[in-house]
Symmetry: C2
């Protein structure tokens, strides 16, 4: 990551430079900043509070579907990492190696986990004996490291936080069902909690996880027209079970290898939220995961200060009682207009303004961050109305993102057409693909767009659909896009 | 850690070999096991669920006292680790060094964090400018690594999970108040949540944190008579602020260094719970943090199976509705007696037995893990009674631990006396100390007991109290013990 930029005021506009807008917004809202370690970030309290809410939203869903959390070591002995050939090949170039403890050289080098299939499979080898031990449905919240040449706050950092699910099943069908269950859980959580619509589908072989039989992903469309792979769910088959010898005695008294899945989402979701919803005034946070859902800004002069602050404190207490994450901004020495700007920058969904006249008239003013729409609310109805307004905000935010995604989705029938769309408008582009890695590579070379996935819905080739490059009959209808 | 031990049945008794009892209990209850990485453990779902509840109990208290969570990098560049001389000296021998990324050698080695003062101070250097930026009250939940020669599951592992608070203040008094606020928060949380009484006090200089001005600790007495340092709170003074140049412009327009604290508790608390409360039947878990607070074991024959299982499911739903973490053990093919043993081993506070006769009589039987006391409860009162019984269990468990700690606390007026107590009975031993490192070392050499701390209560020397070794007037009244 580059050097920190100093701010006079405001942030770069999206139209001028979307990437700079993104960085400005993160630094200025104190979501995160660059750390003393190349490629790693400090996640600051405001950004971490958002991540905690995202984590809890996903964690609740994992537990509701029968998964349990556990924790496995940070280190992977070299011999273990090398057990699955494709896996080590995929991750080795980015792996940090521990060679010494203090002054002493290790006899075997230790990798810092880029993902934990190998360490966890070594445990499962010990844990699984009988069909009664299955399924194993375990998830881990952890830090992982993949050393990146080019990094971007939240979207691509050398160390990141994530969850990784690792499951073992008795047969192929169960494992395939788990893969799809999680894919749909991810889709639903992204839409419900982050107001971020995503396209679930299968990755091409070129883009699948190192060691998987099949990788499925959810793909989001961001406001700048780039796609974001927001989560992946892998069907591992028996690719790890065999080298790690994870075997069980089945009911029929024969020994079998387990069938496995793994799946993850990470702190890059924070970047996805920022780039999905933000505008030139800064962040717009989905109420369900926003650290602060409503901010109260009292407006007063010296002679009305006590009156207004006391009423503002009562409102804060009432809203807190109604389950709203509320903040009262009672800082002295800042004008209300300054506070309005600051909380808009920080993306707080609702602002509640309260002054002496409002008190007199028994009302308050609520302002939506999304569209600055103002609503006068009777004082007595506040605790009832605000949760409803937050729900409406969440719905409207999702609807807006859906509309934007639909408008950014086009169709191409020739490579030139695809290239032009990708160059001028970005977004998703539907096109036919013959299923060969050659045509996939040819499109990427010419347009920098990749096959995001073969969508579960709409991924079947329509009659007469042809591959963009080869002109052969299409095997799939796929979504191309440039991606982060 | 050694090799896994295979079990035929049961666990070693505490009287026979307490250490082996501890290991047996952890492995057999599937709290954790030995991982493929030397000195690191796999925290299995049952152990991790306990840790999650401990984490949430502490986290709630941190937030209630104005602290916020954040996340900082895993890696510490070598030059940064070396900035505070005592600090690096204390940790360097146990630090893993990353020297390569993939095939490429790094120009500067990276340490894996043993604790995060250095990385966080580098951030605070950037964040703090004015007195308006203070105080900074930040906590991090993270993994850290200190490579240990001898390890013990949960109590001492090369990688462990913990929280580390790092705060900056405007003046010395505020920082000292924070140090003591956290020490008392730790004491209260250990007592309330873990039913583990602890002695708060100040560490001797020999035992303080590398880089601190003063270290305070909470010390628990375990069932085998060994002490456990369960948490520490450090007053760092300006020891880090100066080399890291964390300065601010104060209201009086002069530039000043901040005053700092740091503090932590870790997964060793899980070991503390096990060794505080467990018995020859296995774990006894405090209800407030137990993953399962009540287990329902249905007792039936073929002809009453449906009747009993349906009623058991209704009871489970009712208790869940009353906020109880309840599990219905409806596994087939296991006799009730087998299930009783298993849940006793796993330390579930209450067992609820329900059979056809109970249903007929409109009642259930509840059995307390602590003392196997049986209570008949009218069916209609269950949802009201069980939460109360869990509260009573928690109180009784704390009271029992308090009593045991009191009974294990003695007084010595000569070194021989201390040596005899420590050798024969273990426990805490009060004694006079002249405050010099020489006599402290002499006691340790002869008895293997160390000064656990100078307790906040009772640490003042009584009239005429003399140092055990030198015979000089005691500067403090301290607690000696052998410790994990």
């Amino acid at each position: 990551m580059g050097k920190k930029k100093e701010f006079e005021q405001g942030i770069t506009s999206q139209a001028e430079d979307f990437s700079q807008w993104y960085i400005d917004t993160i630094l200025k809202t104190e979501m995160a900043d660059y750390s003393c370690v190349r490629g790693c970030m400090n996640i600051r309290p405001y950004g971490y509070a958002l991540w905690e809410n995202i984590r809890d939203a996903f964690d609740r869903r994992f537990k509701e579907t029968g998964h349990q959390n556990a924790y496995f070591p940070l280190f992977v002995p070299e011999s273990l990492l090398r057990k699955e050939a494709e896996h080590v090949e995929g991750f080795a170039p980015e792996v940090p190696w521990v060679t010494h403890i203090g002054e002493e050289a290790l006899t075997e080098r230790l990798a810092i986990r880029p993902t934990s299939e190998t360490v966890i499979c070594a445990a499962y080898h010990e844990w699984v004996h009988s069909y009664r031990d299955l399924p194993i449905l375990i998830n881990q919240w952890a830090n992982v490291v993949r050393w990146e040449k080019r990094t971007r706050l939240f979207l691509r950092t050398s160390e990141f936080l994530w969850q990784e699910g690792h499951t073992c099943h008795r047969n192929e069908q169960e494992a395939r069902e788990e893969t799809m269950l999680i894919l749909d859980l991810y889709r639903e959580a992204c839409e419900t909690e982050l107001a971020m619509p995503v396209i679930p589908g299968r990755k091409s072989d070129a883009e699948k996880f190192a060691g998987a039989v099949e990788t499925y992903s959810i793909e989001a469309m961001l406001a700048d027209g780039n796609a974001l792979q927001a989560g992946t769910s892998h069907f591992l088959g028996q690719n790890f079970a065999k080298p790690f010898e994870i075997k069980f005695l089945d009911e029929d008294n024969t020994e079998k290898y387990v069938w496995q899945t793994s799946w993850g989402v990470s702190t890059r979701l924070v970047g996805g939220i920022i780039m999905s919803h933000g505008d030139d005034s800064g962040l717009i946070l989905p109420p369900r995961v926003a650290p602060i859902q409503a901010v109260i800004v009292p407006v007063f002069k010296d002679d009305t200060k006590t009156l207004v602050l006391e009423e503002a404190a009562r409102i804060a207490a009432e809203l807190k009682g109604a389950g709203v994450r509320v903040k009262l901004d009672d800082r002295e020495g800042f004008r209300p207009g300054f506070k309005y700007n600051e909380w808009e920058l920080r993306g707080v969904p609702l602002r509640i303004e309260i002054g002496p006249r409002d008190i007199e008239q028994g009302q308050v003013m609520a302002v939506r961050r999304l569209d600055r729409e103002k609503t006068t609310i009777a004082r007595g109805e506040l605790a009832r109305r605000i949760p409803g307004m937050l729900g409406q905000f969440q719905d409207d935010l999702l609807e807006r993102a859906r509309k934007r995604t639909a408008e950014s989705t086009r169709e191409a029938s020739t490579l030139d057409e695809l290239a032009e769309i990708v160059e001028k408008q970005r977004g998703f582009v539907w096109a036919g693909w013959d299923g060969t890695p050659e045509t996939e590579a040819a499109v990427k070379d010419k347009t920098k767009a990749t096959i995001r996935n073969i969508p579960l819905e709409g991924g079947q080739p329509t009659d007469g659909l042809k591959d963009l490059v080869s002109g052969a009959p299409a095997a799939h209808r796929v979504l191309f896009a440039r991606a982060y």
